[in-house]
Amino acid sequence: MSDENDLLDDVWGSDSDVELPHENEVKYSRDLQKLREQHNKRGYLDGIVSSKEANLQQGFNDGFPTGANIGFEVGKIIGILQILNYRYGQENSQLRDDYQESLKVLKIANMLSKQVFDPDFRLPDDGKHPILQKWQAKVDEYCTLYSITRK
């Protein structure tokens, strides 16, 4: 804002007419053109900075609940498999293998990968996460097998 006065001096110092822009069809004098460029640029930079923060935050808030939900569901699967594996893993090799595999497949890089989400980071149309679904079904089977009631 400190160059405001210089700008005004510049404009007032010239003989050119100050024309107000008419709708759509605007012919600016050279001075006015200069004035426009300077203020437009200042606005542009402020606009970029302000929107970057606002948009980042908006995006963050938009993604957070989806991520939280996936993380929570992944955690449940891991938790159940982890303790079942501790309890029954020695006698059930399938359970042991599934637990080990879950530690690889359900990792964040896989669960939030671009193969699962569309380019706008949305889940497929049905809102269901394919890897999550597959593993939830697997865990359901173990819960039936070991009479685990899920609350």
């Binding site: 203020h39 640029k41 606005g43 970029i48 995006g59 808030n61 989806t66 993380g71 891991i78 890089a109």
Partner: protein, 163 residues
Amino acid sequence: MSEFDELLHLEEDFYNEGYQEGHNENLKSNFLEGKQFGLQVGFQRFVLLGQMVGICDVLDSMNLQSSALSKNVQSIRDLISKIGMTNDDENVEELEKIMIKLKNKFRTIMITFQRIMKKDKREPFTFEIIEEISRIIAGEVQGFVEDEDVSEAKTSQDQAQAW
């Protein structure tokens, strides 16, 4: 309106015109950048909570005949049910507070569980192990990078496998 007023008005118009252009620039890419980050942070904050719920479900179903353990499991459930899944300031603050209580309670649960399982004579299943698994799943062991592509993801998986 004086010419001076008109000029000031004009400056403001030019400024606003530029502001709008700047505002619209990268609107989508900034939003998506934020969204990707939000997905990650949300995921990372809730893995351990999910693990606790899963383990509680199994503990409850095991009929371990310990009223202390059942009581603590119930408090874990009550605490977790209070947690909101949005990024509101109050939720974030609340989660931090609850998390400390949860961790302490869960550590107690696992100690009790260990005491009950002692006859098994095996390496203990501790809260520290649960937390360690949580960090691996949440990518906090190798430090998950925002723009990690699939090839990098594979290497970090291989590292986790070695654990």
